[in-house]
Amino acid sequence: MKAPFDPREAFGATKVYRLLPFRSTRLDDSRHVITNDAGEHLVLDDQTLRALVDRSLAPGAPVLRDLEARHFLFHPPATTALDLLALKWRTRLERLAEFTSLHIFVLTLRCEHNCHYCQVSRQTEDRAAFDMSREDAERAVELVFESPARRLKIEFQGGEPLLAFELLRHVVLCAEARNATEGRDLGFVVATNLALLSDEMLAFFRAHRVHVSTSLDGPRDLHERQRPRRGGGSHALVESGVARVRAALGADAVSALMTTTPAALREVEAVIDEYVRLGFHSIFLRPVSPFGFAVKTGLARRYDADAWLAFYRRGLDHILAINRGGYPIREEMTAILLQKMRSTEASGYVDLQSPAGAVTAAVVYNYDGRVYASDEGRMLAEMGNHAFALGHVRDSYDELFGSEAVAEWLAASMTEGAPMCSDCAFLPWCGADPVYHVATQGDVVGHKAFSEFCRRQTGMLRHIVSLLEDDPAARDVLEGWA
Protein backbone atom coordinates (compact mmCIF):
# COMPACT_ATOMS: atom_id res chain seq x y z
CA MET A 1 0.00 0.00 0.00
CA LYS A 2 1.34 3.43 -0.97
CA ALA A 3 2.19 5.80 1.89
CA PRO A 4 -0.24 8.76 2.08
CA PHE A 5 2.60 11.25 1.77
CA ASP A 6 5.95 11.30 -0.02
CA PRO A 7 8.92 11.19 2.37
CA ARG A 8 10.03 14.47 3.97
CA GLU A 9 13.09 14.85 1.70
CA ALA A 10 10.84 15.00 -1.37
CA PHE A 11 9.61 18.43 -0.22
CA GLY A 12 12.94 20.01 0.63
CA ALA A 13 15.18 21.79 -1.83
CA THR A 14 18.00 19.59 -3.02
CA LYS A 15 21.53 20.86 -2.79
CA VAL A 16 22.05 20.01 -6.44
CA TYR A 17 20.49 22.64 -8.66
CA ARG A 18 19.44 22.40 -12.25
CA LEU A 19 20.36 25.08 -14.73
CA LEU A 20 17.60 26.95 -16.50
CA PRO A 21 18.19 28.04 -20.10
CA PHE A 22 20.41 31.10 -20.41
CA ARG A 23 22.69 32.85 -22.87
CA SER A 24 26.07 34.42 -22.09
CA THR A 25 28.13 37.14 -23.76
CA ARG A 26 31.35 38.79 -22.68
CA LEU A 27 30.90 42.18 -21.07
CA ASP A 28 34.65 42.80 -20.96
CA ASP A 29 37.90 40.85 -20.47
CA SER A 30 36.86 39.30 -17.17
CA ARG A 31 33.05 39.42 -16.95
CA HIS A 32 30.03 37.95 -18.74
CA VAL A 33 26.43 39.08 -19.04
CA ILE A 34 23.97 36.22 -18.71
CA THR A 35 20.29 36.56 -19.63
CA ASN A 36 17.30 34.25 -19.70
CA ASP A 37 14.41 34.27 -22.17
CA ALA A 38 12.42 36.62 -19.95
CA GLY A 39 15.19 39.24 -20.23
CA GLU A 40 16.42 38.98 -16.62
CA HIS A 41 20.17 39.33 -16.29
CA LEU A 42 23.21 39.04 -14.05
CA VAL A 43 26.87 39.87 -14.54
CA LEU A 44 29.28 37.12 -13.51
CA ASP A 45 33.06 36.96 -13.61
CA ASP A 46 34.77 34.21 -15.63
CA GLN A 47 35.39 31.98 -12.66
CA THR A 48 31.85 32.21 -11.30
CA LEU A 49 30.26 31.47 -14.66
CA ARG A 50 32.35 28.34 -15.15
CA ALA A 51 31.76 27.27 -11.54
CA LEU A 52 28.01 27.72 -12.06
CA VAL A 53 28.04 25.34 -15.01
CA ASP A 54 30.50 22.91 -13.34
CA ARG A 55 28.41 22.85 -10.09
CA SER A 56 31.48 23.91 -8.13
CA LEU A 57 30.14 27.10 -6.53
CA ALA A 58 30.63 27.13 -2.77
CA PRO A 59 27.45 26.03 -0.97
CA GLY A 60 25.67 29.08 0.42
CA ALA A 61 27.50 31.49 -1.91
CA PRO A 62 25.38 34.69 -2.16
CA VAL A 63 25.47 34.52 -5.96
CA LEU A 64 23.42 31.31 -5.79
CA ARG A 65 20.52 33.24 -4.29
CA ASP A 66 20.76 35.87 -7.04
CA LEU A 67 20.90 33.18 -9.71
CA GLU A 68 17.83 31.46 -8.29
CA ALA A 69 15.90 34.72 -7.80
CA ARG A 70 16.48 35.67 -11.45
CA HIS A 71 15.64 32.23 -12.77
CA PHE A 72 19.01 30.94 -13.90
CA LEU A 73 18.73 27.82 -11.76
CA PHE A 74 16.19 25.98 -9.66
CA HIS A 75 16.14 23.21 -7.12
CA PRO A 76 13.94 20.25 -8.08
CA PRO A 77 11.34 19.14 -7.28
CA ALA A 78 10.08 22.76 -7.01
CA THR A 79 8.83 23.89 -10.43
CA THR A 80 7.63 27.41 -9.61
CA ALA A 81 10.56 28.83 -11.58
CA LEU A 82 9.38 27.06 -14.72
CA ASP A 83 5.85 28.46 -14.31
CA LEU A 84 7.14 31.98 -13.74
CA LEU A 85 9.51 31.86 -16.71
CA ALA A 86 6.70 30.59 -18.95
CA LEU A 87 4.44 33.42 -17.80
CA LYS A 88 7.12 36.06 -18.35
CA TRP A 89 8.04 34.67 -21.75
CA ARG A 90 4.41 34.74 -22.85
CA THR A 91 3.98 38.29 -21.56
CA ARG A 92 6.97 39.50 -23.57
CA LEU A 93 5.46 38.10 -26.75
CA GLU A 94 1.90 39.29 -26.20
CA ARG A 95 2.31 42.16 -28.64
CA LEU A 96 2.36 39.69 -31.53
CA ALA A 97 -1.32 38.87 -31.02
CA GLU A 98 -2.08 42.60 -31.20
CA PHE A 99 -0.32 42.86 -34.57
CA THR A 100 0.03 46.21 -36.35
CA SER A 101 -0.66 49.20 -34.11
CA LEU A 102 1.39 51.99 -35.77
CA HIS A 103 0.03 53.11 -39.16
CA ILE A 104 2.16 55.70 -40.96
CA PHE A 105 0.47 57.86 -43.59
CA VAL A 106 2.89 59.58 -45.98
CA LEU A 107 0.48 62.31 -47.02
CA THR A 108 2.88 64.04 -49.40
CA LEU A 109 6.49 63.96 -50.53
CA ARG A 110 6.47 67.73 -50.96
CA CYS A 111 8.61 69.72 -48.54
CA GLU A 112 9.87 73.27 -48.31
CA HIS A 113 13.02 72.18 -46.47
CA ASN A 114 16.01 70.70 -48.29
CA CYS A 115 17.69 68.62 -45.59
CA HIS A 116 20.99 67.00 -46.56
CA TYR A 117 20.14 63.62 -45.07
CA CYS A 118 16.48 63.44 -46.10
CA GLN A 119 15.49 60.18 -47.70
CA VAL A 120 12.44 61.09 -49.68
CA SER A 121 11.33 64.71 -49.93
CA ARG A 122 10.68 66.64 -53.17
CA GLN A 123 10.99 70.34 -53.86
CA THR A 124 7.92 70.76 -56.02
CA GLU A 125 4.51 72.37 -56.21
CA ASP A 126 3.05 69.37 -58.03
CA ARG A 127 0.33 68.17 -55.69
CA ALA A 128 -1.14 65.65 -58.11
CA ALA A 129 2.12 63.77 -58.49
CA PHE A 130 3.28 63.75 -54.88
CA ASP A 131 0.20 63.92 -52.62
CA MET A 132 -1.91 60.97 -51.48
CA SER A 133 -5.37 60.95 -53.05
CA ARG A 134 -8.45 61.19 -50.81
CA GLU A 135 -9.64 57.82 -52.10
CA ASP A 136 -6.38 56.11 -51.17
CA ALA A 137 -6.38 57.82 -47.77
CA GLU A 138 -9.93 56.63 -47.04
CA ARG A 139 -9.03 53.08 -48.08
CA ALA A 140 -5.95 53.22 -45.84
CA VAL A 141 -8.17 54.21 -42.90
CA GLU A 142 -10.26 51.10 -43.57
CA LEU A 143 -7.09 48.99 -43.51
CA VAL A 144 -6.05 50.58 -40.18
CA PHE A 145 -9.24 49.31 -38.59
CA GLU A 146 -8.85 45.84 -40.05
CA SER A 147 -5.84 45.42 -37.78
CA PRO A 148 -6.75 43.50 -34.60
CA ALA A 149 -4.76 45.92 -32.38
CA ARG A 150 -6.66 47.51 -29.49
CA ARG A 151 -4.33 50.51 -29.62
CA LEU A 152 -4.09 52.23 -32.99
CA LYS A 153 -1.78 55.12 -33.72
CA ILE A 154 -1.91 57.01 -37.01
CA GLU A 155 1.27 58.97 -37.72
CA PHE A 156 1.41 61.58 -40.47
CA GLN A 157 4.72 61.91 -42.26
CA GLY A 158 6.06 63.44 -45.44
CA GLY A 159 7.70 65.33 -47.01
CA GLU A 160 6.08 67.94 -44.84
CA PRO A 161 2.57 66.73 -43.91
CA LEU A 162 1.36 70.23 -43.06
CA LEU A 163 1.60 71.01 -46.79
CA ALA A 164 -1.32 68.58 -47.08
CA PHE A 165 -3.20 69.75 -44.01
CA GLU A 166 -6.66 69.40 -45.57
CA LEU A 167 -5.93 65.74 -46.26
CA LEU A 168 -4.60 65.29 -42.72
CA ARG A 169 -7.82 66.75 -41.34
CA HIS A 170 -9.85 64.44 -43.59
CA VAL A 171 -7.99 61.33 -42.38
CA VAL A 172 -8.41 62.29 -38.71
CA LEU A 173 -12.15 62.88 -39.15
CA CYS A 174 -12.61 59.62 -41.12
CA ALA A 175 -10.72 57.63 -38.49
CA GLU A 176 -12.66 59.20 -35.62
CA ALA A 177 -15.96 58.51 -37.35
CA ARG A 178 -15.01 54.88 -37.84
CA ASN A 179 -13.78 54.63 -34.26
CA ALA A 180 -17.14 55.78 -32.91
CA THR A 181 -18.32 52.22 -33.51
CA GLU A 182 -14.93 50.45 -33.14
CA GLY A 183 -14.04 51.88 -29.73
CA ARG A 184 -10.29 51.39 -30.13
CA ASP A 185 -7.65 53.38 -28.26
CA LEU A 186 -6.94 55.71 -31.20
CA GLY A 187 -4.18 58.34 -31.27
CA PHE A 188 -2.59 60.66 -33.83
CA VAL A 189 0.93 62.03 -34.31
CA VAL A 190 2.14 64.50 -36.90
CA ALA A 191 5.85 64.60 -37.76
CA THR A 192 6.46 68.17 -38.89
CA ASN A 193 9.22 70.75 -39.17
CA LEU A 194 6.69 73.29 -37.75
CA ALA A 195 7.56 75.90 -40.40
CA LEU A 196 3.97 76.04 -41.72
CA LEU A 197 2.16 75.73 -38.40
CA SER A 198 -0.92 77.97 -38.28
CA ASP A 199 -3.36 78.80 -35.49
CA GLU A 200 -6.05 76.90 -37.39
CA MET A 201 -3.86 73.78 -37.36
CA LEU A 202 -3.12 74.19 -33.67
CA ALA A 203 -6.82 74.47 -32.90
CA PHE A 204 -7.48 71.28 -34.86
CA PHE A 205 -4.64 69.43 -33.10
CA ARG A 206 -6.01 70.54 -29.74
CA ALA A 207 -9.55 69.47 -30.58
CA HIS A 208 -8.44 66.07 -31.85
CA ARG A 209 -5.52 65.44 -29.50
CA VAL A 210 -2.87 65.21 -32.21
CA HIS A 211 0.63 64.88 -30.74
CA VAL A 212 3.38 66.83 -32.51
CA SER A 213 6.82 65.43 -33.26
CA THR A 214 9.42 67.75 -34.76
CA SER A 215 13.07 67.76 -35.80
CA LEU A 216 15.71 69.63 -33.86
CA ASP A 217 19.30 68.92 -34.83
CA GLY A 218 20.94 71.15 -32.24
CA PRO A 219 22.03 74.79 -31.91
CA ARG A 220 21.06 77.27 -34.61
CA ASP A 221 24.26 76.96 -36.71
CA LEU A 222 24.24 73.19 -36.83
CA HIS A 223 20.47 72.91 -37.32
CA GLU A 224 20.41 75.36 -40.22
CA ARG A 225 23.47 73.84 -41.88
CA GLN A 226 21.73 70.48 -41.93
CA ARG A 227 18.15 71.63 -42.47
CA PRO A 228 18.29 74.51 -44.96
CA ARG A 229 15.15 76.06 -46.40
CA ARG A 230 14.49 78.80 -48.90
CA GLY A 231 14.49 82.05 -46.94
CA GLY A 232 16.32 80.46 -44.00
CA GLY A 233 15.13 80.61 -40.41
CA SER A 234 14.47 76.91 -39.89
CA HIS A 235 15.74 76.94 -36.30
CA ALA A 236 13.71 80.01 -35.30
CA LEU A 237 10.60 78.41 -36.75
CA VAL A 238 11.18 75.27 -34.68
CA GLU A 239 11.79 77.31 -31.53
CA SER A 240 8.67 79.43 -31.94
CA GLY A 241 6.63 76.44 -33.13
CA VAL A 242 7.54 74.39 -30.06
CA ALA A 243 6.51 77.29 -27.80
CA ARG A 244 3.18 77.68 -29.62
CA VAL A 245 2.40 73.94 -29.49
CA ARG A 246 3.15 73.85 -25.76
CA ALA A 247 0.99 76.91 -25.12
CA ALA A 248 -1.91 75.47 -27.11
CA LEU A 249 -1.69 71.74 -26.41
CA GLY A 250 0.31 71.37 -23.20
CA ALA A 251 3.96 70.94 -22.22
CA ASP A 252 4.13 67.27 -23.19
CA ALA A 253 2.35 67.58 -26.55
CA VAL A 254 5.54 68.08 -28.55
CA SER A 255 8.67 65.95 -28.80
CA ALA A 256 11.74 66.30 -30.99
CA LEU A 257 14.11 64.04 -32.90
CA MET A 258 17.66 64.68 -34.05
CA THR A 259 19.72 63.11 -36.80
CA THR A 260 23.39 62.38 -36.14
CA THR A 261 25.55 63.71 -38.94
CA PRO A 262 29.37 63.86 -38.90
CA ALA A 263 29.04 67.49 -37.78
CA ALA A 264 26.77 66.51 -34.89
CA LEU A 265 29.29 63.84 -33.82
CA ARG A 266 31.67 66.61 -32.82
CA GLU A 267 29.05 68.65 -30.98
CA VAL A 268 27.01 66.23 -28.93
CA GLU A 269 27.17 68.32 -25.76
CA ALA A 270 25.98 71.42 -27.63
CA VAL A 271 23.11 69.45 -29.18
CA ILE A 272 21.96 68.20 -25.79
CA ASP A 273 22.33 71.65 -24.22
CA GLU A 274 20.06 73.04 -26.93
CA TYR A 275 17.36 70.51 -26.05
CA VAL A 276 17.66 71.57 -22.41
CA ARG A 277 17.54 75.27 -23.36
CA LEU A 278 14.28 74.66 -25.25
CA GLY A 279 12.78 72.84 -22.27
CA PHE A 280 12.81 69.27 -23.62
CA HIS A 281 13.10 66.45 -21.10
CA SER A 282 13.91 63.84 -23.69
CA ILE A 283 16.39 63.41 -26.55
CA PHE A 284 16.87 60.50 -28.95
CA LEU A 285 20.47 60.03 -30.09
CA ARG A 286 20.10 58.11 -33.34
CA PRO A 287 22.32 57.43 -36.33
CA VAL A 288 21.67 58.22 -39.99
CA SER A 289 19.78 55.47 -41.80
CA PRO A 290 21.67 53.93 -44.72
CA PHE A 291 18.93 54.89 -47.17
CA GLY A 292 17.97 57.46 -49.76
CA PHE A 293 19.87 60.69 -50.09
CA ALA A 294 22.04 59.75 -47.12
CA VAL A 295 23.51 57.04 -49.36
CA LYS A 296 23.54 59.16 -52.52
CA THR A 297 25.47 61.91 -50.72
CA GLY A 298 27.80 59.46 -48.97
CA LEU A 299 26.59 60.66 -45.57
CA ALA A 300 25.71 57.14 -44.45
CA ARG A 301 29.33 56.03 -44.87
CA ARG A 302 30.99 58.99 -43.20
CA TYR A 303 31.00 57.48 -39.73
CA ASP A 304 31.00 53.90 -38.56
CA ALA A 305 29.50 52.19 -35.52
CA ASP A 306 32.58 52.84 -33.39
CA ALA A 307 32.44 56.59 -34.08
CA TRP A 308 28.73 56.61 -33.34
CA LEU A 309 29.24 54.69 -30.09
CA ALA A 310 31.88 57.19 -28.96
CA PHE A 311 29.32 59.94 -29.66
CA TYR A 312 26.62 58.03 -27.76
CA ARG A 313 28.83 57.42 -24.70
CA ARG A 314 29.89 61.07 -24.57
CA GLY A 315 26.31 62.20 -24.98
CA LEU A 316 25.00 59.85 -22.31
CA ASP A 317 27.72 61.01 -19.89
CA HIS A 318 26.64 64.60 -20.49
CA ILE A 319 22.94 63.75 -20.04
CA LEU A 320 23.66 61.92 -16.77
CA ALA A 321 25.64 64.93 -15.52
CA ILE A 322 22.71 67.25 -16.37
CA ASN A 323 20.37 64.96 -14.43
CA ARG A 324 22.69 64.98 -11.44
CA GLY A 325 22.63 68.77 -11.67
CA GLY A 326 18.87 68.70 -11.13
CA TYR A 327 17.38 68.93 -14.65
CA PRO A 328 15.62 65.68 -15.61
CA ILE A 329 16.25 64.67 -19.22
CA ARG A 330 16.47 61.14 -20.57
CA GLU A 331 18.02 59.59 -23.65
CA GLU A 332 15.23 57.68 -25.36
CA MET A 333 17.17 54.76 -26.86
CA THR A 334 18.76 54.07 -23.48
CA ALA A 335 15.33 54.29 -21.82
CA ILE A 336 13.88 51.78 -24.31
CA LEU A 337 16.72 49.34 -23.65
CA LEU A 338 16.41 49.77 -19.88
CA GLN A 339 12.69 49.10 -20.09
CA LYS A 340 13.45 45.89 -21.99
CA MET A 341 16.02 44.94 -19.32
CA ARG A 342 13.85 45.73 -16.33
CA SER A 343 10.33 44.76 -17.38
CA THR A 344 8.66 41.68 -18.76
CA GLU A 345 6.06 43.89 -20.44
CA ALA A 346 6.22 43.76 -24.22
CA SER A 347 8.11 46.70 -25.70
CA GLY A 348 6.29 48.72 -28.35
CA TYR A 349 9.49 50.03 -29.95
CA VAL A 350 9.22 48.96 -33.59
CA ASP A 351 12.92 48.80 -34.51
CA LEU A 352 13.95 46.25 -31.87
CA GLN A 353 11.54 43.34 -32.17
CA SER A 354 11.80 39.65 -32.97
CA PRO A 355 10.17 38.81 -35.29
CA ALA A 356 10.78 42.19 -36.89
CA GLY A 357 8.45 45.06 -36.00
CA ALA A 358 7.94 45.80 -39.70
CA VAL A 359 4.33 44.67 -40.41
CA THR A 360 3.90 43.09 -36.96
CA ALA A 361 4.02 46.51 -35.26
CA ALA A 362 4.08 49.17 -37.99
CA VAL A 363 3.10 49.68 -41.61
CA VAL A 364 3.41 52.56 -44.08
CA TYR A 365 0.82 53.86 -46.57
CA ASN A 366 2.80 55.83 -49.10
CA TYR A 367 1.61 58.95 -50.97
CA ASP A 368 1.04 56.88 -54.13
CA GLY A 369 -1.13 54.28 -52.38
CA ARG A 370 1.62 51.70 -52.13
CA VAL A 371 1.92 49.92 -48.81
CA TYR A 372 5.29 49.14 -47.22
CA ALA A 373 6.33 47.00 -44.28
CA SER A 374 8.08 49.93 -42.60
CA ASP A 375 9.29 53.47 -43.08
CA GLU A 376 12.74 52.14 -43.95
CA GLY A 377 11.12 49.71 -46.41
CA ARG A 378 9.61 52.64 -48.27
CA MET A 379 12.98 54.43 -48.29
CA LEU A 380 14.60 51.32 -49.70
CA ALA A 381 11.95 51.31 -52.42
CA GLU A 382 12.93 54.90 -53.27
CA MET A 383 16.37 53.41 -54.03
CA GLY A 384 14.79 50.85 -56.36
CA ASN A 385 14.61 47.86 -54.00
CA HIS A 386 11.00 46.78 -53.49
CA ALA A 387 11.69 43.83 -51.17
CA PHE A 388 9.45 45.31 -48.49
CA ALA A 389 6.59 46.52 -50.69
CA LEU A 390 3.40 44.79 -49.58
CA GLY A 391 1.08 45.98 -52.34
CA HIS A 392 -1.43 48.80 -52.80
CA VAL A 393 -4.19 50.10 -50.53
CA ARG A 394 -6.66 48.75 -53.13
CA ASP A 395 -5.53 45.21 -52.24
CA SER A 396 -7.32 43.29 -49.51
CA TYR A 397 -6.02 43.15 -45.95
CA ASP A 398 -5.18 39.46 -46.36
CA GLU A 399 -3.30 40.09 -49.61
CA LEU A 400 -1.24 42.84 -47.98
CA PHE A 401 -0.51 41.32 -44.59
CA GLY A 402 -0.86 37.59 -45.10
CA SER A 403 1.29 36.91 -48.15
CA GLU A 404 3.85 34.11 -48.35
CA ALA A 405 6.60 36.67 -48.92
CA VAL A 406 5.77 38.51 -45.70
CA ALA A 407 5.61 35.27 -43.72
CA GLU A 408 8.96 34.19 -45.16
CA TRP A 409 10.97 37.26 -44.22
CA LEU A 410 9.23 37.62 -40.88
CA ALA A 411 10.23 34.05 -40.03
CA ALA A 412 13.76 34.76 -41.20
CA SER A 413 13.86 37.88 -39.02
CA MET A 414 13.49 35.95 -35.79
CA THR A 415 16.72 36.50 -33.89
CA GLU A 416 16.14 33.25 -31.98
CA GLY A 417 17.14 31.43 -35.16
CA ALA A 418 19.75 33.82 -36.56
CA PRO A 419 23.46 32.91 -36.47
CA MET A 420 25.28 34.80 -33.69
CA CYS A 421 22.00 36.27 -32.39
CA SER A 422 20.65 32.91 -31.22
CA ASP A 423 23.31 32.53 -28.54
CA CYS A 424 23.88 36.21 -27.75
CA ALA A 425 23.00 37.31 -24.21
CA PHE A 426 21.62 40.59 -25.59
CA LEU A 427 18.94 38.79 -27.64
CA PRO A 428 15.98 39.52 -25.28
CA TRP A 429 16.79 43.25 -25.40
CA CYS A 430 17.68 43.48 -29.08
CA GLY A 431 15.79 42.74 -32.28
CA ALA A 432 15.96 42.22 -36.00
CA ASP A 433 16.27 44.92 -38.61
CA PRO A 434 15.71 43.07 -41.89
CA VAL A 435 15.43 46.26 -43.96
CA TYR A 436 18.81 47.51 -42.70
CA HIS A 437 20.45 44.19 -43.52
CA VAL A 438 18.88 44.02 -46.98
CA ALA A 439 20.08 47.58 -47.59
CA THR A 440 23.63 46.94 -46.40
CA GLN A 441 24.23 43.23 -47.09
CA GLY A 442 21.46 42.23 -49.50
CA ASP A 443 20.15 39.66 -47.05
CA VAL A 444 17.26 39.69 -44.56
CA VAL A 445 19.28 38.09 -41.75
CA GLY A 446 22.71 39.51 -42.51
CA HIS A 447 26.07 38.34 -41.20
CA LYS A 448 26.23 39.96 -37.79
CA ALA A 449 30.03 39.92 -37.66
CA PHE A 450 29.88 42.53 -40.44
CA SER A 451 26.76 44.32 -39.21
CA GLU A 452 27.04 47.92 -38.02
CA PHE A 453 23.56 47.48 -36.55
CA CYS A 454 24.82 44.62 -34.37
CA ARG A 455 27.99 46.48 -33.40
CA ARG A 456 25.98 49.55 -32.41
CA GLN A 457 23.28 47.75 -30.44
CA THR A 458 25.65 45.43 -28.57
CA GLY A 459 27.99 48.37 -27.92
CA MET A 460 25.18 50.39 -26.37
CA LEU A 461 24.00 47.46 -24.28
CA ARG A 462 27.52 46.74 -23.03
CA HIS A 463 27.87 50.38 -22.02
CA ILE A 464 24.52 50.46 -20.20
CA VAL A 465 25.19 47.20 -18.33
CA SER A 466 28.66 48.48 -17.36
CA LEU A 467 27.18 51.71 -16.02
CA LEU A 468 24.60 49.79 -13.98
CA GLU A 469 27.35 47.56 -12.57
CA ASP A 470 30.20 49.99 -12.01
CA ASP A 471 28.82 53.51 -11.61
CA PRO A 472 26.38 53.95 -8.70
CA ALA A 473 25.70 57.60 -9.54
CA ALA A 474 24.79 56.71 -13.14
CA ARG A 475 22.71 53.75 -11.93
CA ASP A 476 20.64 56.05 -9.69
CA VAL A 477 19.65 58.13 -12.72
CA LEU A 478 19.19 55.22 -15.14
CA GLU A 479 16.92 53.29 -12.75
CA GLY A 480 14.48 56.18 -13.02
CA TRP A 481 14.24 55.79 -16.81
CA ALA A 482 13.19 52.13 -16.88
Binding site: R18, L19, L20, P21, F22, R23, S24, R26, H32, D37, L49, R50, V53, L82, D83, L85, A86, L87, W89, R90, L93, P419, M420, D423, H447, A449, F450
Partner: protein, 110 residues
Protein backbone atom coordinates in the same frame (compact mmCIF):
# COMPACT_ATOMS: atom_id res chain seq x y z
CA UNK B 1 42.59 22.19 -16.34
CA UNK B 2 42.46 21.95 -20.11
CA UNK B 3 45.60 22.98 -21.97
CA UNK B 4 44.91 25.47 -24.76
CA UNK B 5 45.12 24.09 -28.30
CA UNK B 6 48.55 24.34 -29.95
CA UNK B 7 48.93 27.48 -32.07
CA UNK B 8 51.49 28.19 -34.79
CA UNK B 9 51.73 31.52 -36.59
CA UNK B 10 53.10 30.81 -40.04
CA UNK B 11 53.14 32.21 -43.57
CA UNK B 12 49.68 30.84 -44.39
CA UNK B 13 48.13 32.35 -41.27
CA UNK B 14 47.45 31.05 -37.80
CA UNK B 15 47.31 27.28 -37.50
CA UNK B 16 45.39 25.90 -34.52
CA UNK B 17 45.03 22.22 -33.65
CA UNK B 18 41.64 21.78 -31.98
CA UNK B 19 41.07 18.61 -29.98
CA UNK B 20 37.48 17.56 -30.66
CA UNK B 21 37.39 15.56 -27.43
CA UNK B 22 37.58 18.92 -25.66
CA UNK B 23 35.66 21.21 -28.00
CA UNK B 24 32.54 20.40 -30.02
CA UNK B 25 32.77 20.96 -33.77
CA UNK B 26 29.79 23.32 -33.60
CA UNK B 27 31.69 25.47 -31.06
CA UNK B 28 34.65 25.72 -33.47
CA UNK B 29 32.34 26.60 -36.36
CA UNK B 30 30.53 29.28 -34.37
CA UNK B 31 33.84 30.76 -33.27
CA UNK B 32 35.00 30.99 -36.88
CA UNK B 33 31.71 32.60 -37.90
CA UNK B 34 31.90 35.17 -35.11
CA UNK B 35 35.44 36.23 -36.10
CA UNK B 36 34.66 36.37 -39.82
CA UNK B 37 35.16 40.14 -39.95
CA UNK B 38 38.78 39.69 -38.82
CA UNK B 39 39.93 36.50 -40.54
CA UNK B 40 38.80 33.64 -42.74
CA UNK B 41 38.86 30.19 -41.16
CA UNK B 42 39.72 27.13 -43.25
CA UNK B 43 39.03 23.74 -41.69
CA UNK B 44 41.27 20.79 -42.53
CA UNK B 45 40.48 17.07 -42.38
CA UNK B 46 40.12 15.60 -38.91
CA UNK B 47 42.98 13.26 -38.01
CA UNK B 48 42.36 11.21 -34.93
CA UNK B 49 40.52 13.69 -32.76
CA UNK B 50 42.35 16.76 -34.02
CA UNK B 51 40.78 19.33 -36.32
CA UNK B 52 43.34 21.61 -37.99
CA UNK B 53 42.03 25.17 -38.37
CA UNK B 54 43.89 27.81 -40.36
CA UNK B 55 42.93 31.43 -39.84
CA UNK B 56 43.86 33.27 -43.02
CA UNK B 57 44.83 36.88 -42.41
CA UNK B 58 45.21 39.98 -44.52
CA UNK B 59 48.80 40.23 -45.91
CA UNK B 60 49.40 43.38 -43.88
CA UNK B 61 48.75 41.63 -40.55
CA UNK B 62 51.71 41.95 -38.17
CA UNK B 63 52.86 39.12 -35.89
CA UNK B 64 51.60 41.05 -32.86
CA UNK B 65 48.15 41.40 -34.40
CA UNK B 66 48.16 37.73 -35.36
CA UNK B 67 48.86 36.78 -31.73
CA UNK B 68 45.99 39.01 -30.57
CA UNK B 69 43.73 37.30 -33.06
CA UNK B 70 44.89 33.82 -32.00
CA UNK B 71 44.12 34.72 -28.36
CA UNK B 72 40.71 36.06 -29.38
CA UNK B 73 39.96 32.82 -31.23
CA UNK B 74 40.93 30.65 -28.24
CA UNK B 75 38.96 32.76 -25.80
CA UNK B 76 35.90 32.77 -28.03
CA UNK B 77 36.24 29.01 -28.46
CA UNK B 78 36.10 28.53 -24.70
CA UNK B 79 33.03 30.78 -24.47
CA UNK B 80 31.32 28.96 -27.33
CA UNK B 81 32.02 25.58 -25.78
CA UNK B 82 30.48 26.75 -22.51
CA UNK B 83 27.43 28.07 -24.38
CA UNK B 84 27.03 24.72 -26.11
CA UNK B 85 27.23 22.88 -22.77
CA UNK B 86 24.56 25.11 -21.24
CA UNK B 87 22.44 24.91 -24.40
CA UNK B 88 22.63 21.13 -24.52
CA UNK B 89 21.87 20.74 -20.83
CA UNK B 90 18.91 23.12 -20.81
CA UNK B 91 17.38 22.47 -24.26
CA UNK B 92 14.64 20.12 -22.93
CA UNK B 93 13.73 22.67 -20.23
CA UNK B 94 13.55 25.49 -22.79
CA UNK B 95 11.17 23.39 -24.91
CA UNK B 96 9.11 22.59 -21.81
CA UNK B 97 8.87 26.24 -20.73
CA UNK B 98 7.95 27.34 -24.28
CA UNK B 99 5.26 24.65 -24.53
CA UNK B 100 3.93 25.66 -21.12
CA UNK B 101 3.93 29.36 -22.06
CA UNK B 102 1.72 28.77 -25.09
CA UNK B 103 -0.28 25.77 -23.89
CA UNK B 104 -3.48 27.75 -23.45
CA UNK B 105 -3.26 30.08 -26.39
CA UNK B 106 -5.21 27.95 -28.85
CA UNK B 107 -2.34 27.99 -31.33
CA UNK B 108 -2.40 24.21 -31.64
CA UNK B 109 -6.04 24.15 -32.79
CA UNK B 110 -5.41 26.65 -35.60
Amino acid sequence: MVAPPPVVIGPDGIEIQVDLRVFRLIAVQKTAYRLADRCTAAFGVVEGDVLPVILRLAPSTTDDLARVLADAFLRELLDQELRERVGEETAPLRALILAHAFSRTGLIER
